[in-house]
């Protein structure tokens, strides 16, 4: 499975070609991962405390005694 994933990854990398004049959309903030992080932070913060498995990729910023 891991080998298949690696092969697919390198296949993707090697077959893609994007010219500079074709980068209009890729340069848009809507196509940039993490560009909405600041505005989404309050929603993500709420999910951290309201869902047991949400945002499993992050540590909680603080504790809370509320139920």
């Amino acid at each position: 499975m891991r080998s298949l994933l690696l092969i697919m990854t390198f296949t993707c990398v090697s077959c893609v070609s994007v010219a500079p004049w074709e980068r209009e959309y890729l340069a848009d903030p809507a196509m940039t991962f993490g560009s909405e992080e600041a505005e989404d932070a309050p929603v993500q913060h709420a999910r951290d405390y309201r869902e047991g498995g949400a945002n499993a990729g992050a540590t909680r910023a603080g504790g809370c005694g509320c139920n």
Binding site: L26, A30, M31, E39, T59, C64
Partner: protein
């Protein structure tokens, strides 16, 4: 309250003035945000107001950032979860209030066109909590700028206040912390600090597939050790109520996949994201998010988002530990029961190209609503009503500094 207001004003002033002063000599940005969280579950209510400011300055290949954020919380708190039948857990709820502050700083160094190194530090504190979180990160981008690999590691070292009456006492006889009075104070002899350490590693691969299609695959691993319960929650065990007792280790693996597509004819962008996680407490979760961003012209954009979430319960969760105990552990945390959530949000943004020292300006108004259902969770004899929370936030961001000099 007087002290809190002064602390907030000083924090905002220091971060904002520092950022503006430094951007006068370089390039940078200033960000301010305020959000309001409101939750209703039957007669239970929680409100939180959260301000944030951040300043960032870029000098050559180095970017430095400094920020502060806070939560001012008012919430209903349930005295004993799953209490005897004659105790109504919901109507006997009391109000508590708390505030959280977190200061953070970070540096990013563009070592070359391909490699960026990051380091950061965060310190958060409440009346009953202290947390230090150093972090490091590395980014690598291919020469054609089609592939990006990111790795981040965060270490969290937290202290959680607890009552000293629990020292050397068996879990079923431990008492819940009544309040935060005396926490982290040398003058109090009835409070102790419990430790909690979290190690988080995250890896992501971002790949351009076509000029209008980009994908990201991410995986993370989180290990938490130490005191992982809430010191305030009590669980009814038959003859008495005891502080909830969670395992002192939790390991969680998570993965996500997201694709973003630019739709030229529609002047729009669509994104689909899938998340999944599993931990050794037995919780398996999955989430799906579909987003649409529509260009409206004159710098305005309107975004829509819908999301669904589901999770299984922790292996040691029970809604009644008297008749259905689940081993050595017991919890009053409804987020450890099986639950479902669904919701959606709207986002209106405006971007101005700026002029002179103001090199750009952005404002985002966001509203997001989520409905949670906990079908297996009860407060004493009462089924917990499905609850909903709404988050409304306003963010403004300005890019400042001199324009780059022409060669």
């Amino acid at each position: 309250m007087q002290l809190t207001r002064k602390r907030v004003l000083i924090s905002v002033a220091v971060v904002t003035l520092g950022a503006i002063a430094t951007t006068a000599a370089a390039q940078g940005r200033v960000l301010a945000r305020v959000s309001q969280y409101t939750e209703r579950r039957g007669s239970l209510r929680t409100d939180a107001t959260s301000p944030e400011v951040e300043g960032q300055v870029k000098i050559g290949p180095v970017t430095a950032a400094l920020g502060w954020e806070a939560d001012f919380i008012t919430s209903a708190t349930i005295p004993v979860v799953d209490a005897p039948v004659d105790v109504d857990g919901i109507t006997s709820a009391t109000q508590m209030s708390d505030e959280r502050h977190a200061f953070r700083g970070g540096v990013a160094w563009e070592v070359s066109r391909a490699v960026t190194l990051r380091a950061g530090y965060r310190y958060g504190f409440e009346r009953d909590y202290r947390g230090h979180a150093p972090s490091i990160g590395l980014s690598w981008t291919s020469e054609a700028q089609l592939t990006t690999l990111d790795f981040d590691y965060t270490l969290s070292i937290d202290g959680v206040c607890d009552t000293s009456l629990n020292d050397g006492v068996s879990p079923t006889e431990r008492l819940a912390l009544a309040n935060a009075n005396g926490c982290f104070s040398d003058r109090s002899d009835n409070r102790v600090t419990q430790s909690r350490v979290a190690n988080l590693g995250r890896f992501s691969l971002t790949q351009v597939l076509r000029p209008e299609v980009i994908v990201q695959l991410a995986a993370s691993f989180l290990r938490e050790d130490g005191f992982l319960s809430s010191p305030y929650r009590e669980v009814w065990l038959g003859t008495l109520a005891a502080q909830e007792h969670h395992p002192d280790r939790r390991m969680r693996a998570a993965g996500s996949a997201e694709v973003r597509i630019a739709l030229e004819d529609l002047r729009a962008f669509v994104a689909l994201r899938l998340d999944a996680s599993h931990d050794d407490w037995g919780i398996t979760s999955g989430a799906g998010t579909l987003s649409w961003t529509q260009k409206l012209g004159a710098g305005f954009r309107l975004g829509f988002r819908i999301r669904g979430y589901t999770q299984s319960s922790a292996a040691f969760f029970s809604d009644d530990y008297v008749s259905n105990p689940r081993g050595a552990y017991f919890t009053g945390d409804r987020e450890l029961s099986a639950m479902h959530a669904w919701g959606g949000g709207l986002r209106l943004s405006y971007r101005h190209p700026g002029a002179g020292v103001l090199r750009g300006f952005r404002a985002v108004l966001l509203a997001d609503a989520t409905h949670n259902q906990y079908p297996a969770f009860r407060y004493s004899n009462n089924r917990v009503p499905g609850g909903a929370y709404v988050v409304v936030s306003l963010l403004v961001e300005a890019e400042l500094g001199r324009a780059p000099e022409s060669p």
